[in-house]
Structure formats: structure tokens, C-alpha cells
């Protein structure tokens, strides 16, 4: 039986985390192909409904990547993202979800290696956690 390959959806900001992912690529750093990257202009434009929808569709992990606090290209987008994701994680944690599947990471444009490490770690941890039970749930 083939090993379970987690599906990670990553909502990343254009200016920092997406650039980091790009740097990982140009530096030829190897990391697992389990991540599907969705580029937004800012982590502050990540509507929590995207994250909930991704989980309900069966995504095994969701990564939200943005600039480090204080370095947001638009000034305060990541501060808002921080509060929104804290609230979302609290709600989902108490509603019976495995909130560890949602990770927020501040990854700057120069941190190509760190992006790769974060994806590798997340993939390994999600393999241990197993598939998201919503992958099979249709009555939702």
C-alpha cells in the first residue's frame, strides 16, 4: 500500500514568502512536492474562509505564510492576519478539528532554506498525523 502523501495548501504572500519559495527553487534546494502554493498579495488578504474551505475539502495541512511582523509590505496586513488566524485556530480547535494542521509562519524573502525546511517538517509531521478525516466526509 502506497505511503500516505499529505496534501498541503499554502497561502503565501507575494512579497516575502512567495519570494522565499522562489529562492528555494533557484537555489535548487530539495523539498517535498506535497505543497500547492497559492499566491496572494498579503497574508492579511487571507480570508479565514479559504482556510476552512481547504480543510473541509480534505487538505491535510494548510500553511499561511507572510512577512515577519513589522515588515509587511503594506504595513499592517500581517498583524491582522495574526489576529484572524489566532481566532480561527481557537474556533476550529474547540469545534473538534485538529488545529495543528493549520500553521502560520512568518518567512521572509531571503529565507529560501527555511521555507524548504518548514515544508519538509510539515510534510513529515502530517504523515504521522494521518489524512484529514474530512477527505472522506461528504455529509458536510
Amino acid at each position: 500500500m502506497a505511503e500516505f502523501e499529505p496534501n498541503i495548501i499554502a497561502f503565501v504572500c507575494n512579497w516575502c514568502t512567495y519570494a522565499a519559495a522562489d529562492l528555494a527553487g533557484t537555489s535548487r534546494i530539495q523539498y517535498p512536492p506535497n505543497v500547492k502554493i497559492i499566491r496572494l498579495m498579503c497574508s492579511g488578504s487571507v480570508d479565514p474562509i479559504f482556510v476552512i474551505k481547504a480543510l473541509l475539502e480534505g487538505a491535510d495541512g494548510v500553511l499561511i505564510g507572510g512577512c515577519h511582523p513589522g515588515d509587511c509590505h503594506y504595513g499592517s496586513g500581517n498583524y491582522k492576519a495574526r489576529r484572524r488566524m489566532m481566532i480561527l485556530k481557537t474556533i476550529l480547535d474547540n469545534a473538534g478539528f485538529e488545529a495543528e494542521r493549520i500553521r502560520v509562519r512568518w518567512i521572509s524573502a531571503s529565507e529560501g532554506k527555511r521555507f524548504a525546511v518548514i515544508i519538509s517538517e510539515m510534510t513529515a509531521e502530517l504523515k504521522k498525523m494521518g489524512p484529514n478525516s474530512f477527505n472522506k466526509m461528504w455529509d458536510i
Binding site: P48, I49, I52, K53, L56, E57, G58, G66, P69, G70, S76, Y79, K80, R82, R83, R84, M85, M86, I87, L88, T90, I91, L92, N94, A95, G96, F97, E98, V104, R105, W106, S133, F134, N135, K136, M137, W138, D139, I140
Partner: protein, 379 residues
């Protein structure tokens, strides 16, 4: 707040309070009054807006019936800043919701005179109708309900008949009101306390039929007892809900019989959006999308997005949830929506040490941020 006694000489509480409201209007403390009154057949109570020059005859702010959270009505009356002094007779959950709506710019507090009343709880409307048929009318039911439950440590008749949200409401007394009517701990055949905020300096209490109260300890003690009792029930409910929602399957099961009527959203005073995203084109999926989703999971429930709706609504408003329970009362399938929202709401509010409706000065956590906070998050 300055405390006064409304002494009931040769009149019952209902008449006494009715006359108090009459005097508020006559003294021009307010230009109009939003007040619960008996329906013509006296078997139900609804909020009414008293017309200019009209005499109030059947005010009934204590009946154990709350057909909707009046914060929405306060929004309707004040939204376009009419510049008139509007008095609104409200229970604590309604005041707290109105304060949250003011932060959301749906209620305008200028010229609003909040008249808060103590509340021992309410029945579902079907339970109320059954009860009122065994009494003569609203007034008889209300007096029986209050007299047995107004003293601390007593059991309100049919306390088990109260709406669940009322059983675990830890706010029996109104706060942030301009005028309050407090009956807890009082002998309601003789008197109740009326407290008036210093902000209303245009009133002469004598003209309102009030005498100063030296000692309101019996009300303070009774309200503390009530609050402590309810808080214990609330904490038990929180524990039980957290235990019930232990995994994804549990939530799906609890919400499984949702029929997407959106009554919970309509009943919720905090859900004020004129166009909820669930009513927009965002959720008018194409056949192509439906069939793709169906192919991925083998089959999909139709209509889609039931769980997404509840979780999104939770994410949008739970930080301001005042626990009034109108959502559960409105649900045709008896889903205990309020239990989930109040429990999870409390956890989210705790992140920011926030209490909805506690103060108009406190910003809604989702509407603001601090640069220096939650430093460990996202590392």
C-alpha cells in the same frame, strides 16, 4: 448611578411600572419609548414603539418571553440618527448586543436612553403559550413568575422550562444602562429599585414618583447569588460542549439536521449584514463545480456548504456573541446553536480578555491589532 425606590401604594407592579413609563414620557425625559407591551388579547408580549401623545396602558417588561433580541430594533430606530431621545426598555442581553452593534456602526447611541430591567429568564414562545393558558393572562403569569423567583435562593416556577440560554446566562442585571429597574431581592408587592445614571441630570426624581433609596444591599446580594448560580451552570455547559465536540465527526453530527433556513443568522442581533456572503453569487456554484466535488468524494450532500456556513458565521461574529440564545430558539430543527456559539465565543473572547457589551470603549478584537502581541505565534 443614584438609587431610588418605586413604592407601590395601592397598585401592583405592572401598573406601577406602567405609570413610571408614563411619567418618563410626560416629563419629556424621552420623546418616545420602545417598550414591551401586552398584545390586545393579553396572551403575548411584543416590543412596541409608543406613538407621540399616546398613553401606555399595558407595559410588561418582565414577562418571561423574548420573541427577538431588541438590539436589532434599536438599530432600526437609531441608524439614521433621528436626533430624538429614544427610550428603549431592554434586558441585559439586548443591551450588550446593542453596545456591540454600536461598535459596528449599526446602532447610534446619541440620544438613546437605555432603560435596563433585571431578568430571571424567558420561556420559548410555545412553552409560554402553554403556560399563559393556565393563568388568566400575561400579567398573572408574570407576577407569579417574578414573585416566586425574585427572592434569592428560591426556585422560579418551572425553572426547567426556561430557554437553555437563560439558564446559563450570567448577566441577570442590566449594565451600561441610563435607567435601571431592579426587582431582584425586593418584595415586588411593595417596591422595586430604580437607579438613574448621573448622565441624566434633567430629571427630578420626585416628578417620576421616586424616593431616594439608602440601602440597595438586598438587590446587590440577590443579584450576586443569581449570577453565581448561573455562572456555575454556564461552566458545566462549557465543559459538556467541549467534551461533545471532541472530533470532526461530532460537529458534523450535531449540525447534520441543519436545513439551511438561516433563521439562526436572522435571529442573531450581531449578524447585521444586509448581504451575507452565503446569499451572494459566491455560493451559486456551477454544475461543473458540483460534479467535480462529487467526483472527488464519491458523493456530496446537497445543498453544499452547511458546515462551512456555521463555521464562517462563527468566525465572523462569535467574538461579539452575547449568548442571548435567539439562534437556538429560532432553529426549526432544535439544533443547540447557542451552546456551541457561546462556548466557543467564550474561548475566543478569552484570547483578548474581551467581554462583548462590557464597554463601548473596548474595540472589537477583530477590528484592531497591536504590534506588540502574541510574539510566539507564527514563529
Amino acid at each position: 448611578m443614584k438609587s431610588y425606590r418605586l413604592i407601590l401604594k395601592d397598585e401592583d407592579l405592572a401598573t406601577g411600572i406602567n405609570n413610571f413609563f408614563k411619567r418618563l414620557l410626560a416629563q419629556k425625559v424621552i420623546d418616545t419609548l420602545l417598550v414591551p407591551q401586552d398584545t390586545p388579547d393579553k396572551t403575548s408580549v411584543v416590543q412596541t414603539l409608543v406613538g407621540a401623545g399616546e398613553e401606555i396602558e399595558s407595559a410588561n417588561p418582565f414577562a418571561p418571553l423574548l420573541l427577538m433580541n431588541s438590539a436589532t430594533l434599536v438599530g432600526q430606530l437609531t441608524f439614521d440618527k433621528p436626533g430624538k431621545r429614544i427610550g428603549a426598555v431592554l434586558r441585559s442581553c439586548e443591551i450588550r448586543a446593542a453596545i456591540e452593534l454600536a461598535k459596528l456602526k449599526q446602532v447610534n447611541m446619541d440620544n438613546l436612553v437605555i432603560i435596563g430591567v433585571d431578568c430571571l429568564g424567558t420561556y420559548e414562545s410555545t412553552t409560554y403559550q402553554e403556560s399563559v393558558s393556565s393563568f388568566k393572562d400575561n400579567k398573572a403569569l408574570t407576577m407569579d413568575f417574578l414573585s416566586k423567583g425574585a427572592q434569592p435562593g428560591t426556585d422560579a416556577p418551572g425553572r426547567d422550562k426556561l430557554r437553555p440560554a437563560c439558564r446559563w446566562c450570567e448577566y441577570p442585571c442590566p449594565e451600561n444602562a441610563d435607567i435601571t429597574i431592579n426587582f431582584l431581592g425586593c418584595d415586588i408587592r411593595k417596591e422595586v429599585f430604580i437607579r438613574i445614571s448621573e448622565k441624566i441630570d434633567t430629571i427630578n426624581p420626585e416628578d417620576l414618583g421616586l424616593v431616594p433609596a439608602d440601602d440597595i444591599a438586598k438587590w446587590e446580594d440577590a443579584s450576586r447569588l443569581c449570577r453565581d448560580e448561573r455562572t456555575k451552570v454556564r461552566d458545566r455547559v462549557f465543559e459538556e460542549v467541549v467534551h461533545r465536540l471532541k472530533d470532526a465527526k461530532s460537529l458534523v453530527k450535531e449540525l447534520g439536521r441543519c436545513r439551511r433556513c438561516y433563521n439562526c443568522r436572522r435571529a442573531c442581533p450581531i449578524c447585521y449584514c444586509r448581504a451575507c456572503i452565503f446569499d451572494t453569487v459566491l455560493f451559486e456554484h456551477t454544475y461543473a463545480q458540483y460534479s467535480r466535488w462529487a467526483a472527488k468524494k464519491g458523493k456530496i450532500r446537497m445543498p453544499t456548504d452547511t458546515l462551512l456556513y456555521h463555521l464562517t458565521r462563527m468566525n465572523h461574529m462569535v467574538v461579539s456573541c452575547v449568548g442571548c440564545g435567539q439562534c437556538t430558539s429560532a432553529c426549526p430543527n432544535n439544533i443547540p446553536v447557542a451552546e456551541f456559539f457561546k462556548t466557543i465565543g467564550a474561548k475566543v473572547q478569552a484570547l483578548f480578555d474581551y467581554a462583548p457589551g462590557r464597554s463601548i470603549e473596548e474595540e472589537i478584537p477583530q477590528a484592531t491589532f497591536k504590534e506588540d502581541e502574541f510574539k510566539e505565534f507564527g514563529k
